[in-house]
């Protein structure tokens, strides 16, 4: 079977906007959390903490910046940034990447993932306030003028815009797709792109996810469901508490993670450095409830077992598990039950860590960002820590690597979980470069 190797990494996440900065922060066990009020006025919001991409400056997007200017589309900016970074990582520079992709007509693919596109307040102004005349009567002519003026805002709703920009910029002409599988989307996009390569549909793919819901309506959508932590009795960096008995919801995050995937044959032929391997994907459906997993995590069990089967590995081969680990009471206990079902109890099961303790939950991009973090950790020979795990929940009794990264130079395989609303589950098996 064709091995699918990783030859480029790109990332924008609360720990930084390049792989080496992010890797260092992960090794150091740093948190990317801060005040949500840095994003907008939160005086009357219950939620006060977010994990934002730090010091974000879209002007460095270069030739892509004009197309993204003024749309307020942070997620697309993150997506383009991470994809460009991954391509430069894989090929050295833009010109080399462009030449390599041009040499693959119809066989260089894009498989990204994104999520819900909730409106910005500016869209509310343009679509609603500017269209109302006296007595709130609808003024059609005014609406047309307003909507024309706000045309650039609507562009952010077309999530395939990142694929379009990359296709225009680099000449991709193979399969192109945007996954909308909720919080499992990023992981499933990477696994599916790997399958495209294994099936011979393409030789190279840029795969990953991008997301930002850190704006008023985006945050409110989760707050009103009770999914976000409303904790204000501690420092922002201590709010995200996966697997802790005091956990009360997740911290909203944002960012993008992108991988350049190639068939091993293609990568070797061009002398590329192999950074890791995508061994398997498992996807499943809970067939249960829209916003809650079944307590026994049975959907997650199916996904993890399917990923192991595609990777042709046994549970004992997995060195650590990167949990979905949101910090919501229901997710963490169900995921623990699922991991026990697949791997065994504490002492038998491999360590289970949650990167969301440091970077929050990047929603549709989570699985992609966490795949980048996992590959960097494998390279660095560490198991990343679960932060803020001060009073472990007895119901989640597994080895969670609290507070500090653990040395693991012999670790070869990671299983990375991503679960989403609608009961969708995705598990990826990733390997070190020599696996």
């Amino acid at each position: 079977m064709t091995r699918v190797v990783v030859t480029g990494l790109g990332v924008a996440c609360p720990l930084g906007t390049d792989p080496e900065t992010v890797a260092q922060a992960q090794r150091d066990g740093r948190s990317g959390a801060g005040p949500l009020a840095d994003a907008f006025d939160t005086t009357h919001f219950e939620v006060q903490t977010a994990c934002r991409v730090p010091d974000w400056d879209p002007s460095h997007l270069g030739r892509f910046a004009p197309a993204l200017a003024d749309s307020g589309d942070r997620k697309a900016e993150f997506g383009v940034h991470a994809a460009v970074q991954a391509l430069r990582h894989a090929f050295g520079d833009d010109a080399s990447a462009q030449a390599a992709i041009a040499a693959l007509p119809g066989r260089a693919a894009l498989h990204t993932a994104s999520g819900l596109v909730s409106s910005l307040p500016a869209e509310g102004e343009a679509d609603v306030l500017a269209c109302l005349g006296p007595d709130r009567a609808f003024d059609f002519a005014a609406s047309m003028e307003s909507l024309k003026a706000a045309n650039h805002l609507r562009a952010r709703h077309f999530t395939d815009r990142v694929n379009q920009l990359l296709a225009w910029g680099y000449g991709f002409s193979g399969p192109s797709l945007v996954n909308h599988g909720a919080c499992a989307a990023g992981a499933v996009a990477i696994g599916t792109a790997a399958r495209w390569i294994r099936r011979g549909r393409c030789d190279l793919a840029v795969a990953g996810g991008f997301e930002s819901m850190i704006h008023p309506f985006g945050v409110l959508s989760f707050q009103m469901l009770g999914a976000l932590s409303e904790r204000t009795d501690c420092d922002h960096t201590a709010v995200s508490r996966p697997f802790d008995s005091t956990r009360d919801g997740f911290v909203i995050g944002e960012g993008a993670g992108m991988l350049v995937l190639e068939s091993e044959e293609h990568a070797r032929a061009r002398g590329a450095t192999v950074l890791g391997v995508v061994h398997g994907l498992g996807s499943s459906l809970d067939s249960y409830r829209t916003t809650a997993p079944p307590p026994d995590g049975r959907g997650a069990v199916v996904a993890m077992r399917a990923a192991l089967a595609e990777a042709k590995l046994q549970p004992a081969d997995i060195d650590w598990v990167s949990a979905h680990g949101t910090g919501t009471p229901l997710n963490d206990s169900a995921e623990t039950a699922a991991v026990r079902a697949v791997f065994g109890d504490r002492g038998v099961a491999p360590p289970l860590i949650s990167s969301k303790s440091a970077i929050g939950h990047a929603v549709a991009a989570a699985g992609a960002v966490e795949a980048v973090l996992a590959l960097l950790a494998l390279r660095d020979g560490i198991i990343p820590p679960t932060l803020n795990l001060n009073s472990p929940d007895p119901e989640c009794d597994l080895d969670h690597v609290p507070h500090e990264a653990r040395r693991a130079p012999d670790a070869r395989y990671v299983l990375s979980n991503s679960f989403g609303f609608g009961g969708v589950n995705g598990s990826l098996v990733l390997g070190r470069a020599d696996t």
Binding site: F45, F140, W168, S287, T290
Partner: protein, 360 residues
């Protein structure tokens, strides 16, 4: 050519021609008359810019959605998708009690369009949060946020068709949800074929649903000039049931996907050169096969042998689902037995070709 044979066992479809396959067989037999009309439930809404649309006639969600209490959580595109998906799934007489495959070997791949109408859902909250015609975050926090429907995120989930159908038919296996405009349904088909070929599933649904009959779409099309250019927003869904097949079954002969990186003059138009790129992909996909019938997607200069879009309007992402249904009807009603070539392009640049026919 597929490594394993994959058969198309059933179709579910909703369109302005009717709800369900039987209504479409009748419409097809009558020569496919136009089903477009004045907009229905939005007709009196001053926000609705379109004066003509293609709506599914007489649609009653409670007749198609098993769980009536959840209907309030479903946009029309979700209801239409669930109806078509369940019709396809049950087409070969499937019942849970007699199902030969375990739930984890049931797969589903769905495509969807943009979730819209949010700003209009927010109307009252945004208005309450305004000061002197401008959105004010503090005022919104005080006066506006309490007017929002707490379940709006749940209602807007793009994978809702997948989630509800999985629950109704205990589908727990491989799955995915895509957004690829008019092309999405063929990506779903491609993914389902891949799972069946790889032996990871024994039974799979693939299809798409969408509705452009919304206020926000209507205003956007008016702004972009699409309505003036003749675009009639429509709605519907089409899903196919796939299983491993035998020689002689009607099934999937080939699937090809690609991208044409052109720039269109307007968001709803296809980029220049799309037809040529699609023709090249079709040639590559069909190889030596000679199509007996060619069905083309909306907005293409080459209308193919059957025009679905003049009588039914433009259903956005549902287009590829309708094309699967049209191929099924050509086979069952018109007795077309040679290969049927389906080719579709989206303004975003995405391309796909599916060749259906008798499995060798």
């Amino acid at each position: 050519m597929s490594a394993r044979r994959i058969a198309l066992r059933g179709i579910g479809v909703n369109s302005p021609a009717g709800a369900g396959l039987a209504a479409h067989e009748q419409w097809w037999g009558e020569g496919r008359p136009s089903c477009l009309g004045p907009t229905g439930k939005h007709a009196g809404d001053p926000y609705m810019a379109a004066t003509q649309s293609g709506e599914v006639p007489g649609w009653r969600a409670r007749n198609h959605v098993p769980d009536r209490k959840s209907i309030k959580l479903m946009f029309p595109r979700v209801q239409l998708g669930i109806g078509a998906a369940l019709e396809a799934w049950d087409a070969d007489g499937w019942t849970e009690d007699d199902a030969p495959e375990p739930p984890e070997r049931r797969a589903m791949y769905a495509a969807c369009g943009l979730t819209v109408d949010e700003d209009w859902t927010f109307r009252d909250a945004v208005h309450a949060g305004a000061v002197d015609g401008r959105f004010d975050m503090v005022r919104f926090g005080q006066e506006g946020q309490g007017l929002l429907n707490p379940l709006w995120l749940v209602k807007g989930l793009s994978n809702n068709v997948l989630a509800f159908v999985a629950r109704y038919r205990t589908i727990t296996g491989p799955n995915d949800n895509f957004m690829a405009g008019a092309v999405g349904g063929f990506h779903a088909l491609d993914a389902a074929v891949g799972e069946l070929e790889a032996g990871r599933a024994d039974r799979a649904l693939a299809g798409t649903s969408d509705s452009l009959v919304t206020i926000e779409d209507s205003l956007a099309f008016a702004r972009d000039g699409a309505l003036a250019a003749g675009l009639v927003p429509s709605q519907g869904a089409g899903f196919a049931l796939l299983t491993p097949g035998e020689p002689g079954d009607f099934g999937i002969l080939a699937v090809g996907t690609g991208f044409h990186a052109g720039r269109a003059e307007a968001p709803w138009q296809l980029p220049p050169g799309t037809s040529e790129a699609l023709d090249a992909l079709a040639q590559e996909t069909r190889g030596d096969l000679v199509p007996a019938l060619r069905i083309r997607g909306p907005r293409l200069a080459d209308a193919g042998d059957i025009d679905l879009w003049t009588p039914l309007g433009d259903p956005g992402a549902a287009a590829s689902g309708w094309m699967l249904a049209a191929a099924w009807l050509a086979r069952t009603v018109d007795r077309v037995h040679g290969p049927i070539e389906l080719a579709v392009a989206d303004p975003t640049g995405e391309l796909a070709v599916v060749i259906l026919g008798t499995l060798p």
